[in-house]
Amino acid sequence: MERRFSQTPALGPTAALLLAIVVFSVGSDTFLNIDNFSFIVQQSVVIATLALGQTIIILTGGIDLANALIAVLGTLVMTRTTLDGVPVVAALALGVLVCALTASVSGLLVAKLRLPSFIVTLGMLTVVTAVANLYSSGTTWPAPDGLLTLMGMKLYLFGRVQFTIGMLFAAALFVLVWVTLTRTAWGRHVYAIGNDAEAARLNGINVKRMLLSVYALAGCIYAMAAWLSLGRTPSADPNAYQLGNLESITAVVIGGTSLFGGRGGVVGTVVGALIVSVLRSGLTQMGIDSNYQNLATGILVIVAVAFDQFTRRRSA
């Protein structure tokens, strides 16, 4: 039992998630309901996807404070170029390119100049925010219906259970990243770098190239978050997701991934993102105002991490 906890680090958070679901199901009669679960998932998809990219970076021992703003820049590029008449597919590709390149700049600085990722991405956060404001001319741009907002399209199972294409897409993305992290050499090298970058280098791993590829991949994932976000809120707003960086880090950490790198994984991240959404939804169902919801969320973050640490220490 204890062994299992430490080997599959997502068990602690999963227990917390189930506990929260049980509590809210008892405490509110509108919570336990398939529609509500569908909404909860929809609500967490963008942050969860940002957190997915964040997870890979944190696994290498880094952190990305610019991730949400990179995604915001992505939504702006995708939307504005589409409005300017660029074919949507090209606009999407351009958005992915911009996100990947922007994240790669951070990666380059971290890998080549060996600067701490915290400060590099803090600087990038300021830079990308400014660029997003300049590029958007300070206004929000409505995303035209079609491929750009495809992720928000609703599907009904048995004519009743609501799905969005975005949910399926995000799920597929998660599986892909999970397989890459756990079943390929690249994934192992991500963990190895987070464990001990110098040891990884001495084992013939090209740490610089790996780091660059990690940030570039994370950038692509942020672009996916951008697309998903256009599905959910069909407009590109330079002011959106200002707290997306901290929220995504919260999901990663609640999910049991160590901020020091090398330990954890994306399963926990998904669970972590869901926990936060469940909490918001459940507290609203119980008629609690958002000020108190924030209070509860803050406390939950600390409790979840303390609980995780506790199970971990017992099994150590």
Binding site: D29, T30, F31, N33, D35, N36, F39, Q42, Q43, V46, I47, N133, S136, S137, G138, T139, T140, P142, G152, G159, R160, V161, S229, R232, T233, P234, S235, D237, P238, N239, A240, Y241, Q242, L243, S277, R280, S281, T284, Q285, G287, I288, D289, S290, N291, Q293, N294
Partner: protein, 318 residues
């Protein structure tokens, strides 16, 4: 969608919300005094009519995802109506549509949606008009002096900020390219940021300036402190928009030339009343209801309706 309504019907039969009207309020943020007033007024109005109010908010101006989440959760909770001040009117249309499909009446407060008829009704002030009122007043006060303007803006992408800014310039008879605009700063409506930005701008432009436009009263207070530190506070016309009690007091103290007052209580009261009526009679409100604005100054000019700070103190919010 049919499934949803069945679900709702089932839940509304449970004893906990037997017969009680439930109203959701979604503001842009938690902390702006303006939204706080909106919330307090709505709470008071709801209490009076025996309704239940759940107040939610985005985490920052521009938190569209947070507002969509709030709407979805409120619909799940089984509210009868939602009052919302949309951060970004376009981003949340789908969520509003879904709420309507679930039989919830949605009313916009303070800020319009685009298109307007996305919601049943709107109770709001016209921000551009508020800016224009201020612009006209300042222009009149300047007389034949050439305007030399510094602008403390909100943030480049906020629609409210843009509307007020444009309205003000229009009222002054200026455009963004006018030489009369000596400089602009982004302040996020924050007093400290406005103060630092204005200190730096004043260092550059010196004593030339005679007008400082401010997106709101905290920013105006920051501008005032910066001007005062340079000994310019008496020579410069400081204009603000909001109408909070502290802003009115600043007008009374002569710190600001004028402020333009908005009436969040009216919006909240009318919004709550409309939802209660809908819940009881099924009758939906409709259209755009301008809750009005009012120029507050102790130095009125001809041809512009205004009230003095005494009236302002009686009608201010927060």
């Amino acid at each position: 969608a049919a499934g949803c309504s069945t679900e709702r019907a089932a839940s509304s039969e449970s004893p906990s919300d037997d017969g009680e009207v439930k109203i959701g309020l979604v503001t842009k943020t938690e902390t702006n005094p303006y939204f706080v007033k909106l919330r307090e007024s709505a709470q008071a109005a709801a209490d009076k009519s025996g309704a239940d109010l759940i107040a939610l908010a985005g985490k920052f101006d521009g938190d569209n995802a947070g507002q969509v989440t709030a709407i979805e959760n409120l619909v799940q909770q089984g509210v009868d109506g939602i009052l919302i001040t949309p951060s970004n009117a376009k981003a949340i249309l789908d969520a509003i549509q879904e709420a309507k499909d679930a039989g919830v009446v949605v009313i916009a407060l303070d800020t319009e949606t685009e298109p307007r008829d996305a919601v049943a009704a709107t109770f709001a002030t016209d921000n551009e008009e508020a800016g224009r009122t201020l612009g006209k007043y300042i222009d009149a006060r300047l007389g034949d002096r050439d305007p030399k303007v510094l602008m403390a803006d909100l943030d480049p992408s906020s629609s409210v900020g843009l509307q007020r800014h444009n309205g003000f310039l229009d009222g002054m008879g200026l455009t963004d390219d006018s030489d009369a605009i000596l400089g602009t700063a982004l302040t996020q409506g924050d007093q400290g940021k406005a103060q630092a930005a204005m200190e730096n701008l004043l260092q550059r432009v010196g004593k030339k300036v005679n007008v400082v436009y401010n997106i709101n009263e905290p920013a105006a207070r920051g501008s005032y402190l910066a001007l005062k530190a340079r000994g310019l506070a008496d020579d410069v016309l400081i204009g603000a928009i909001d109408g909070s009690c502290s802003g009115v007091q600043d007008v009374a103290d002569g710190k600001f030339a004028a402020t333009v007052m908005q009436f969040p209580q009216k919006m909240a009261e009318q919004g709550v009343a409309a939802v209660v009526k809908y819940a009881e009679t099924g009758e939906k409100p409709s259209g755009f209801v301008d809750t009005g604005d009012m120029l507050i100054t102790d130095k009125p000019v001809d041809g512009l309706e205004s009230k003095d700070s005494t009236w302002g103190a009686e009608n201010c919010w927060g």
